[in-house]
Amino acid sequence: MSASESGAALTAEALAELRHDLRTPLNHVIGYSEMLLEDAADPALAERRVRLEETLGAAREALDLINATLGAARGAGAEEVARLYDALRGPRGRIVAAITALLPVSDDGRDGTFTADLQKILGAAERLVPSGAAGPAGPVAPMPEPAPARMPASPGALQARILVVDDGAENRDVLRRRLERSGHAVETAEHGRSALELLAARSFDLVLLDVLMPELDGFAVLEAIKGNPTLRDIPVIMISALDEMPSIVRCIERGAEDFLHKPFDPVLLRARINASLEKKRLRDQEVEYLREVGRVIEAATAVEAGTYRQGTLGPVARRADELGRLARVFDSMVLQMKAREERLRDQVRDLRQDIEQARRDSKEFPLAVDGGNLHTGERLGQRYEILAVLGRGGMGTVYRARDLELEEEVAIKTLRPEFVSDATLLERFKDEIRLARRLSDQNIVRTHDFGEWSGVYFLTMEYVEGITVRELIDTRGRLGVSSTLAIAAQLAHSLAVAHEHGVIHRDIKPQNLLLDDAGVLKVMDFGVARLAERTTSVTEAGLVLGTPAYMPPEQLMAEQVDARSDLYAAGVVLYECLTGQPPFQASTVMSLVAKLLTQEAQPPEALNSEVPPALSALVLRLLAKKPEDRVQTAAELLEQLAPLG
């Protein structure tokens, strides 16, 4: 008998499970019988041996029957399975009869368990085919009750809304009742059009669709479902009395999930429906998963745009899987970021108050000192008109000027002739400026150009209206911890950016740190100090240009300068912000150097009790004499500052 004569074959998994369930009790019958046989070698126990041999024979026969019907190499239909159950009753009866005949025998088993073992054999025989199961098999529902329970997917676990579409009233009724018995909610439609109307109005998990119907046939309905984006994902199982390959192929090609023949086998129907529903459930899960991944990505975009609200990922964060963990981590990261942002905002607000106060206090501060080489109203080249002197330093004078070409204000720094007289030095300086021009960051004053006009070498830079940290400290005295942290974070950030680009400042000091009215710190003169390098060493002519109080030992000794030298200078600046004075003070450069090399700075917390010990310690680490003992990078400094603020 071919599989198709008895309905389509059960799946390989279902068969394997059935095989297992039938073999297990037989395994027990055979095992115990063999064991008892071994004990019955005594000639006096001949009758016992006969009964046990009978039991073994019957069990092996049952095993052969099972293997013949359910062998792994062949498929079996539900009807064949039912016939097998029926056939197993014979051997089972013989096993029970043989063992029952032995039961009155007194217990003399080798293990003292003879009777108990016989009971075990009887129990196993009972499990092979339940004695209460129906007798002769009918053609419609031949499957004994235990069989459906052996199907891989348990019914009831997948209760679903199912639409049955069939023009035959009887078919519809039978299907509806069967499905409802399995716990599904069922709607029926008697033709294609009403099926599509129902599908549009309600939601279904599965459609059972008759192929042959008047007007709109099953193929057409299937096409309509699969062509509709909102219905496309509902699995459709086709039902037809036709058993010809082309119509099955046609259904599968049009997107049907499965195909069942009429008259269908109820067990197979249930198995296929459960399989389809399980597949749909998995697919729905996957779709939902992807949707939630989308939500996380959306949230990430919102964070970038600054519009993320914590808890937006709530439902995703409740998931128990890795996506849920990602969402939770994400949420807490955002929370931390927000808290940090808030703290930074508070710090900047304090800093702004300090700045405002300083500006009020320094009304008469002589910002526009005259005395440069250029005068107000004078033009530098065709392009720049001098507006005011902003300050004078060791290297030259800084002017506020108007860029007539671009019509914006710029700062111009003229360089004293002695710095540009050496051609080699000038080239090196140009290299440095070329590098510095690449720096673009809100905490860095942009360097625009390097030029020469009538023998005057000059740099043009972004003009920032504000005051320097020098002026702030000079008018306010020491700054609060909060304001200092606001300066520290921005200074560390600017250094991190510059160092990453290979630019070392070499002359970080309060005079080079500008603060605008919003509390934004801008570091100026990146690269400029390179020009003064040759003359900064005390060993050369005792002439120290630049600002020795902010220089680390290696720079004062004209040794190798690197990013860590800037970090030392930053440490001096922060020290001064917190205490109102630099760590070492002396009247001459030589005595300063001597102090610097031989003494340890007093901890800032000793001079200002408001300074938290952790911040005090961090500043001292920046001031370490040896570069390798300092905080090693500006990025690391930023990290170390984060928990303090």
């Binding site: 394997a16 395994n27 027990h28 055979i30 095992g31 064991m35 071994e38 095993l63 196993a124």
Partner: protein
């Protein structure tokens, strides 16, 4: 006397197989699931492990992998037992680290031959 650890969740199988092995002269200890099997095996003292593959808690494949991952049980021979006889079960068992594999229902002479082969001769 060789000591065998039988890891089997089915009570009747456990009872039967252990008794039959004891009759053949083996000392048999029993574990009822994979977790217990791994614990007992790691405590040591067994010459061979009979491992049912379909077990609760930790299945036989996973239990075997765990035993193969630690030095104290890496060398103990393991025979995997499955009832399914599905194609690929044997490969799966060997891949997990079983030395040999047998199907249930157990045919005792066949299983004994495998045990003896792994233990190096009849005990």
């Amino acid at each position: 006397m060789a000591k065998i650890l039988l890891v089997e969740d089915n009570e009747m199988n456990r009872d039967m197989l252990s008794r039959r092995l004891q009759r053949k002269g083996y000392a048999v200890s029993m574990a009822v699931d994979g977790r217990q099997g791994v614990e007992m095996a790691r405590a040591g003292g067994y010459d061979l492990i009979l491992m049912d593959m379909s077990l609760p808690e930790i299945d036989g494949w996973e239990a075997t992998r765990q035993l193969r991952a630690v030095p104290e049980t890496r060398e103990v021979p393991i025979i995997g037992l499955t009832a399914h006889a599905m194609a690929g079960d044997r490969e799966k068992a060997l891949e997990a680290g079983c030395n040999d594999y047998d199907t249930k229902p157990v045919e005792l002479p066949r299983l004994l031959a495998k045990i003896e082969a792994l233990l190096g001769g009849p005990k």
